[in-house]
């Protein structure tokens, strides 16, 4: 005899309908897609060539020819922001990839194993969290030399314990469920269960955390390149543009205003997107509404 329980099915369509009714999600998605598009477009087209210095046009205010003005070398700020987006996104995205790639298996393993392995992972987490992330990132980039690759590593390393913790906590909530018991009774190994049953159930958590870490990565990369430890000139980066702007604030405030706005808009978009996803897929909000 089979037992049937009627559960209102959550179809792809119903989720989609909810997604587009969620203002935060829609706004976040639009902003994120626009920023991504801007970065991609910069590979094939920018209003001006960012590697060409036009001293005659230096520190011009915003105009029709240069929407966001020009910098102290006469480079177009808008074009630099477009090219800089590539760098910010690439660094933050790969850093999230490193964090997920190493952190999720670690967390899932700790949850599946429990006991000593679990305790050890948590203590290592404590240890990493005791170091202010930015300080350590500065140390790593200073030791191994400034540059985009080292910035990725420095930011990525600190994403690992974050994802390990989220994955572990999520997995611990899934393990006592009945369908896991059923899978065990069917003779599946804990690795198989982790991959086939636990992972899909914590995917939402990981996705939301992913957008958060993505946003934090953008901020961290900007900080590092502001200190001169990120991508090196002539590759434009948002943080570096702000550094160049600082001493020229009096004559060319637009050099500081627009790159900063680019960072704010990008981070805001990602945070809204994360909020939206959490709202849409969170079972708690489903129940209470």
């Amino acid at each position: 005899m089979t037992l049937r329980i009627d559960i209102p099915e959550e179809t792809f369509r119903s989720i989609l309908a909810k997604a587009f009714g969620n203002a935060a999600f829609v706004a976040g998605l639009v902003i994120t897609v626009l920023i991504l598009a801007m970065a991609i477009v910069s590979y094939v087209w920018t209003p001006y060539d960012v590697t060409k210095l036009v001293i005659a046009d230096k520190t011009q205010g915003p105009s029709l020819a240069h929407w966001f003005g020009t910098d102290h070398f006469g480079r177009d700020i808008l074009s630099m922001i477009m090219v800089g987006a590539r760098n910010s996104i690439a660094v933050a995205l790969v850093a999230v990839g490193i964090g997920m790639g190493a952190g999720v298996p670690l967390g899932a393993f700790a949850a599946a194993r429990g006991g000593l392995a679990d305790e050890a992972l948590m203590r290592v987490n404590d240890l990493v969290f005791a170091f202010p992330a930015l300080l350590s990132a500065i140390m790593i980039t200073a030791i191994f030399g400034p540059g985009a690759i080292n910035a990725i590593i420095a930011i990525g390393i600190f994403n690992i314990p974050v994802f390990a913790r989220v994955a572990r906590a999520g997995a611990l909530a899934v393990w006592p469920r009945e369908f896991i018991l059923a899978a065990r009774a069917a003779g599946k190994s804990s690795t198989q269960i982790s991959i086939e049953h636990v992972l899909p159930n914590i995917a939402t958590l990981l996705l939301v955390q992913g957008t958060i870490q993505f946003a934090l990565g953008i901020l961290a990369e900007a900080g590092l390149s502001y200190l001169g430890l990120g991508a090196q000139p002539p590759m434009p980066s948002w943080g570096r543009m702000l550094f160049d702007a600082q001493t020229r604030m009096v004559v060319a405030p637009w050099m500081a205003i627009f790159p900063g706005m680019a960072i704010v808009v990008t981070v805001l978009g990602l945070n809204l997107l994360g909020d939206g996803i959490a709202d849409i897929l969170d079972p708690k909000s489903r129940r209470q509404r």
Partner: protein, 363 residues
Amino acid sequence: MAQSAKTDEGCWNKLNLQFVQHPSSDLASRGHLLLQGEKEERHAPTPSMTAYLLKRLAIAFATLVLASMVVFAVLEVLPGDPARLMLGMNASADQVELLRNQMGLNAPLVLRYLHWAGGLLSLDFGRSYTYSVPVIDLVRERLAVSLPLALIALALSTIIAIPVGLYSASRRGRAGDTISMGVAQLGVAVPNFWFALMLIYIFAVWLRLVPAGGFPGWAAGAWPALKSLLLPAVALALPQAAILARVTRSALIEVLNEDYIRTARAKGLPYRAVLWRHALRNAMIPVLTILGLQFAFLLAGTIIIENVFYLPGLGRLVFQAITQRDLIVVESVVMLLVAAVIAVNLVVDLSYAVVDPRLRTRQ
């Protein structure tokens, strides 16, 4: 680091995620704030408070020792010979070797570690390679800038965030809530060093109210010194305040949904009294946790902010020491910061027991 401005259910999810990140959330997990998983992991009966405190102390100490080993080991593999650095490129190999012996750089690794760690415990940090003064003097001098800066920023962020959180939670879903949480959402996205640049532009370049950077020293009088710390403190505080306001709001909303709040309202207590006496106190645990976390952010944040404002603080010292390969200064300052983070988290853990008497008596 974010939550919805509109609905609080979604933000719980977010908030939980934040807690999951917290290094010492064991006690927090006994509250009502964590992902179910973190709660369910504790099948064993909760040990008594004393045992709990002892355990936390032991963990904090072990973390500190491990951290010191990591710092020592990392800086050991750093390229660059301090003796060579002090003597310059023209020194002969013999001279360098002599100085290396004098500095104890040729002693076995374990001995050097023990010597260094022992020195830390007695506040003897050694001498800076580049400044040729005891590191403790440098640190003391710089701490006189960084500590007031961090404390002012922390105070500012708390003073702004808690009332905003209270206001938002009490007018949940209405215009005031939407606007303040919208501003908070924006505040989270603003990089503090860019905000600092904008503040400099408005208040130092335009209005000429405060200096654009630099620090006159406390000897120049308390007011000029405080004035030059004002903008940096605001720049540090704003993003933190935005996060804290959101956490306060969601924690309050969670508490306001509890049965005992309804009971308090039903027995005729005015809303204001319920909010302040019952809700705020019960919402303090997540707020305290975030405050502890923010201390670490603030310490690290000073590195960039002090560079923006040319403040002679600890952050600028460590940044310069890293670029100059002044290892002994880097080691000492990093250990100091790590010790501060661990100590603050310990204090936060212990303060849960003060805020929440249930945690004190639980057997």
